[in-house]
């Protein structure tokens, strides 16, 4: 069953660069919120804020590197 789940996941996980960044931002934001916040409301705010910063900074850096891709 585990092998079957792995094969399914392996075929299903076709992440684009942006999708990989979103997944990374979400999971790391969740973990950092748990580490730094002790209340549920504070944790939710931290997750949203950290996730938004991850995505915005990632997009900003991507645009800064765009001229180098040519």
């Amino acid at each position: 069953m585990i092998c079957g789940a792995f094969i399914f996941l392996n075929s299903a996980l076709r992440l684009s660069h942006f999708g990989a960044m979103l997944l990374f931002a979400l999971l790391v934001s969740l973990a950092l919120a748990c580490l730094s916040q002790r209340t549920r409301a504070g944790g939710v705010r931290y997750v949203l804020w950290s996730f938004a910063l991850f995505v915005l900074v990632g997009l900003g850096v991507a645009w800064l590197m765009y001229p180098m891709s040519r």
Binding site: F24, A31, A33, C34, Q37
Partner: protein, 186 residues
């Protein structure tokens, strides 16, 4: 994710509160043994005998707290979230397990590089330390990455970062477990 303090495990919190009470009592009593109080007219010999009686209990409590911290830390490293689960923080345990497992499994599926322990260069050693932070998931790499890593694509490079980030997140969770079990953090 974050529990209301009233819902947290009674066992660990009670032990921590009891230990802090013991500390407070011990500090007050040992304060009576300071030179200022010794120079007073009545040095309160009864208080000194109480302090002598209380001190072994305080050291035993500290030893017990240290053993609990060590046990929880090892458990938290081996299985992400298990340390918090042992301390009764089931919400945080679930979040840490899901975050670390999600990062590691995604990294493996992206065919990221898993650094071996016998790497020759310092960067490889740092990579191994980061990867090994994921505990038991590190040893699943041979199972998940049967075809081996593929860092010739960008996805494989992302996978390498995912695996390393999972290990670092789990190491931070281990430190959090130690702080909770020693009573430095709620």
């Amino acid at each position: 994710m974050n529990e209301v303090p009233g819902n947290e495990a009674a066992l660990s919190d009670n032990s921590i509160n009891q230990n802090s009470d013991d500390h407070a009592t011990g500090d007050q009593i040992s304060g009576d043994q300071s030179p200022v109080s010794e120079s007073s007219a009545n040095p309160a010999a009864g208080d000194q005998s109480i302090a002598a009686a209380q001190h072994p209990q305080g050291s035993r409590a500290n030893a017990g707290r240290g053993a609990l911290a060590l046990f929880a830390a090892v458990a938290a490293w081996l299985v992400p979230g298990l340390g918090h689960l042992l301390l009764g923080r089931w919400g945080r345990a679930l979040v840490f397990f899901c975050a670390v497992a999600g990062l590691v499994v995604s990294g493996y599926l992206l065919r990221g590089n898993v650094f071996p322990s016998h790497s020759g260069d310092p960067f490889g050693t740092l990579g191994f330390l980061a990867d090994a932070g994921a505990g038991v998931f590190y040893y699943f790499s041979r199972f998940f990455e049967a075809a081996g890593p593929d860092v010739s694509r960008a996805a494989g490079d992302y996978g390498t970062r995912f695996i390393a980030a999972a290990g670092v997140v789990n190491l931070l969770a281990v430190l959090d477990t130690i702080e909770i079990s020693t009573g430095r953090r709620v």
